[in-house]
């Protein structure tokens, strides 16, 4: 590896070092004297809970933030990165967790966006397309340059992001949670691509909180906690348990005890339910499902395969085009959320900041989002009884260990985990008969995740019927009694918790039906 050019024709970054980086936000030390380095040909994973400082550190490297102290040294020379433009010039690329692509434009147009054309004012999309073809060839990242983004699958969109970074001359790639939206098979393909890139001399930084992936792909792992560097270790010397402990600073239970619960009567039943997605096509196709008292049914699947529509139909936010929904054998198809609230349905919504809370409202005001007009929160249904609301709120804050300065604090100033705990507290305190928990721990730190999991299991033991919708397969495996897999709006298979197997589930998530999945070797 003496050659300083990469197969893409760009200059290699042999060694990039961040030394004693400090970043302060008013009142917080977001990054506290962290050393981080990455060499050509390696994957260096950056691991940590939310708020540990991973993304702040990487935003400094990518030029989105400037460091208060510390240096960045590229190939032995001190360099200053003031903006993403600088970092791109220096060969640093970043693949964001949420893709930065314009859906209505084609692949080539997206890549050309923001780049000067070789032909002055006239577009040079054919040149871009040709070059994309060459790059795609090298790393088997085939996509059709003339297709619009919205027609591509999530995995393909990610390829476009990687291709764009390579096109712009990235020798060092920062990948921010790149696997969050992929099926296990797509993850495998991504890893193959990443391995080939490192073999060619690219330097890669892999941000994740999925321990097994970190162990599978990286050569070194740096763990951050509360802005401080816990350690940097070789991946071969690490195990899931040690990494998890480093992340949270204490022992973590990755498996839960499932208490014995006698499964009761059916509480939630769907019969042949179909519904349209926002795009207007059938996002949910003929889904039949039953959840009984004391049971957690997990809906597994890659993001955007109908889970969102499923939760919305059950909770009355999306009218079904056909089929029936029953709660406690009472027909509730197409009923309004208000009616469903009355019939004992609680819903932890997927997008908690959009659907679950009102950001500008206080913690207490958010607590009574559904029940503000009912006793004991309202007097005669007209005047709100803020004294009772405050009292209930304070006791729930204590019971659910919600960290907040007071019940009058606007909820937007709480951390993601604490906001989710409040949503959980609200939904569980309504003593539901059926609970829909959609992505209950997405973007939530490990401590709060564990707490939420334990609460859900306790709720199961109390006899609530729980429908758990999650893109995190580990979460489903840890909690669900039965696992239902969805693909393109349909149920493609169902397995019980004891017979669940990750590979088989992964195949089903990729659309291979249960029967086939069993006979197909991985």
């Amino acid at each position: 590896m003496t050659d300083t050019l990469l197969p893409t024709g760009h200059q290699r970054i042999d060694h990039l070092e961040m030394r004693q980086i400090v970043k302060r936000f008013p009142g917080v030390l977001a990054v506290d004297h962290v050393d981080f380095d990455v060499k050509a040909g390696e994957v260096h994973a950056l691991l940590g809970e939310n708020g540990a400082g991973k993304s702040t550190l990487m935003k400094i490297l990518y030029g989105l933030y400037s460091a208060d102290e510390g240096q960045i040294i590229r190939n032995g020379q001190v360099t200053v990165i003031r903006s993403p433009t600088d970092s791109i010039k220096q060969g640093i690329g970043m693949i964001h967790q949420h893709f930065m692509l314009v859906p209505s434009l084609t692949v080539a147009e997206n890549v050309a966006l923001g780049m000067p054309s070789t032909r002055g004012l006239r577009l040079d999309l054919d040149v871009v397309a040709k070059r994309l073809g060459e790059l795609a060839e090298i790393y088997s990242l085939q996509v059709d340059p003339s297709r619009p983004i919205w027609q591509l699958s999530v995995g393909e969109q990610q390829r476009v992001e990687i291709l764009r970074a390579l096109y712009r001359g990235a020798a060092l790639l920062i990948l921010d949670e790149p696997t969050a939206v992929l099926t296990p098979q797509e993850v495998e393909h991504l890893f193959t691509v990443l391995r080939r890139m490192t073999a060619d001399g690219h330097a890669l930084i892999f941000i994740s909180h999925k321990l097994h992936e970190v162990l599978a792909i990286s050569s070194r792992v740096t763990v951050l906690r509360d802005g401080q560097q816990v350690d940097t270790i070789l991946a071969e010397n690490a195990t899931k348990t040690t990494l998890a402990q480093m992340m949270v600073g204490r022992e973590v239970v990755l498996r839960y005890e499932h208490g014995d619960v006698s499964i009761g009567e059916p509480r939630l039943r769907l019969e042949g339910v179909s519904a349209k997605s926002n795009r207007g096509d059938l996002g949910l196709k003929n889904v039949s499902l039953m959840v009984k008292a004391g049971e957690i049914v997990g809906i597994a699947g890659v993001s955007g395969n109908g889970q969102h529509e499923l939760a919305q139909v059950i909770s009355g936010l999306r009218p079904p085009v056909s089929g029936e929904v029953f709660i406690d054998s009472q027909r509730v198809t197409g009923k309004s959320p208000a009616v469903l609230n009355e019939s004992g349905l609680s819903h932890i919504p997927e997008e908690r900041m959009e659907d679950g809370v009102i950001k500008d409202f206080s913690v207490a005001e958010n607590l009574v989002l559904q029940d503000h007009g009912r006793k004991p929160y309202a007097l005669g249904g007209v005047f709100m009884n803020f004294r009772t609301i405050a009292k209930t709120c304070k006791s729930l804050i204590q019971e659910y260990e919600i960290k907040t300065p007071s019940h009058e604090t606007p909820i937007k100033s709480l951390s993601g985990g604490n906001i989710q705990k409040l949503v959980l507290a609200r939904e569980l305190s309504r003593q539901p008969r059926v609970l829909i928990a959609a992505q209950p721990t997405r973007g939530v730190d490990i401590g709060a995740t564990e707490y939420i999991h334990r609460r859900l299991l306790a709720e199961r033991e109390a006899g609530t019927a729980i429908l758990l919708i999650s893109e995190d397969l580990d979460e489903i495996l840890a909690l669900a009694d039965r696992i239902v897999v969805m693909y393109e709006g349909e149920i493609v298979g169902e397995v019980s918790r004891d017979e669940a197997d990750v590979n088989q589930l992964g195949l089903m998530m990729a659309g291979i039906r249960h029967e086939q999945a069993e006979s197909t070797p991985l």
Binding site: P26, P349, D355, L369, H372, F383, M384, P410
Partner: protein, 374 residues
Amino acid sequence: MRNLIDRLFAVLLPVLAVAAALLIGAIMLLLMDADPIEAYQALYDGAFGTVNSRSETLVKATPLLLVGIGICIAFRGGVINIGGEGQMIAGAVVGTYVALKFETMPFSGTASIYHDLPQYLTIALCMISGFLAGAFWGGIAGLLKAYFDVNEILSTIMLNQIALQLMSYLLNGVMLDPRQRERVNHIPRTARVPDYAQIPRVTWLTDVPIRLHYGFIIALVLAVIIYIFLWRTTLGYRIRAVGKNQRASRYAGINVKRQMLFSMFLAGGFAGLAGTVQVLGLQYRLQTDGSAAGFTGNAGFNGIVAALFGGLHPVGAIPASIFFGGLLIGAQSLQRTVQVPASLITTLNGLVVVFVVSSQIFVRRRTQRRAKEQ
């Protein structure tokens, strides 16, 4: 301690913004060869210098406050009501019609059956009718917005025009003063509303005869009531919830469409009330010069400014409307004393609005920074 400083900051900021606007106004005055100190002295004296000027300021502030209260509800509910002018007109037309009905039956000319009602009930009945008429006019825009997704900014502006033309039509026709009817070049105006339908003046404050009427006191009381309504009742909670986050409101089982319609209804109602109060408390008859401002004095728009200046808080709108009322009244004496065009005051008004509204960004930044620190 820090909390106190934050509060102080939030209160002082609009004051500073006003000072900055006046400073720029001073430069403009200098450019026009006028002495800014003399000019501002005249402005202040004109607005607050005498008992009469103070009374006139409050008279001017009354419709601003009433419209502003409605604007607080609409904006808190997430609907932008630009239709204050039209709603004022709708309220004034119906309020006046009802008031006139107390004297004679409108078409037959026979004595009214309600003749014997006590005065306060008569006035209340007129005001409720005016409120409902404005509410209906605002409700049209609310309905279009909630159920047909029609932009309320557009529809309210259009409804302003319709209300104006409708008023012209009625004042030249069925509502025309019978005494004007015989004339060849009649003035489009109604008959004078009967004494017992007029809002009485506040006489116990001073011996000087002033035009300040109980409409202002009613507006003050309503501001407090609406504050309680918005922050202490379930209905107000729902309006604010919908205004802040429609998706979460829908998720929680709140009927978002109904709340949108309702907040527009209330906003229109308060503007309608402002129109009625202008007639019953001040002008005693409805008259048009063919423009909306001819009747409203632009209160339908200035009320929005007062509400924004008051932080979209009904109680905050009280000092804000007095301030703007003062500016408008003071402008007249400014014009007389230093011989500058009154349009300078309009400019000054505009400057104040721009400064105050844009200074809010500092408050927001500050709270965001505070939030991050937590």
